[in-house]
């Protein structure tokens, strides 16, 4: 019951702020709405019992990505610049397409997704468990992607620095 109510509250937050984030005229507001969405998503993870994921989501998104966004906004936003709204035609077209996409995907998913829930004991994921899985080399263990993504991160850092620095 509580789970239900919490879910619907989060769902409402996500839906409303998602739409607001992509319709709001002012960019700083959009960013804020996005933050709400991301936090609410983190809430969903918590609701689903993935506390670790909740933490990561909050830390990375709210802590990292959002900061980047804010900096970028402040860097590129010239005070006093007119906020021009988008062309109506483009919004209508995009809106119709998005709605059609939702309808289509919803139709397919609703009628085809496996609805038989597998209930297992809602056991908490322990850090040991996570660490073990993360650094294992067997099936369903994730050391290799962990290493691989480190390279990606390094490359992205180098790349971003190269682009962003002055020389």
């Amino acid at each position: 019951m509580a789970e239900q109510i919490i879910f619907y509250i989060l769902a409402a937050i996500i839906a409303v702020f998602s739409i607001l984030a992509v319709t709001s005229k002012r960019i700083i507001r959009s960013a804020t709405y996005l933050l709400f969405v991301l936090l609410a998503t983190a809430g969903l993870y918590l609701l689903l019992g993935y506390n670790y994921l909740f933490a990561v989501q909050v830390a990375v998104y709210a802590g990292g990505v959002m900061v980047l966004f804010i900096f970028a906004i402040l860097l590129t936003n010239r005070p006093g610049a007119d906020v021009k709204s988008e062309l109506a035609v483009r919004r209508v077209v995009a809106g119709i397409t998005a709605l059609a996409g939702v309808a289509f995907c919803a139709h397919i998913i609703y009628y085809n997704v496996n609805k038989v829930m597998v209930t297992v004991a809602q056991s908490e994921l322990t850090p040991q468990q996570i660490g073990h899985t993360m650094l294992g080399t067997d099936k369903y263990q994730y050391l290799m992607p962990f290493e691989a993504i480190s390279i990606l991160l390094l490359a992205c850092i180098i790349g971003a620095i190269m682009i962003a620095r002055k020389r």
């Binding site: 239900q4 619907y8 984030a21 960019i27 959009s30 993935y50 998005a98 597998v118 994921l125």
Partner: protein, 112 residues
Amino acid sequence: MELITNFLSGSVQIEAYLGLSLIMFFAGIYGFLSRKSLLMILISIELMLNAADINFVVFNRYLYPGHLEGFYFTLFTIAIAACETAVAIAIIINIYRNLNSVEVGNLDEMKE
């Protein structure tokens, strides 16, 4: 009231999660297609990635709880999304340096 309680009884249906992620995903798409500022487009992309993450997690939890595949996928995706954002923002700032604007409509020197 009874209707509501009936509705709320039991656990949340998987369709609800999926519907939510769909809304988020297509809101992102809408934003990508309609926004003027590069940063706003980037915000829309975050929404899209996030929607996919929700899917993974929900599928993992509801349908295939035996392993943590969806969980880890989401974990890594969050990292990747961060990378993307970082690089994209670097590039957007570079654009701003070059064009003194972050409007996507100005990116049309090359066409046809």
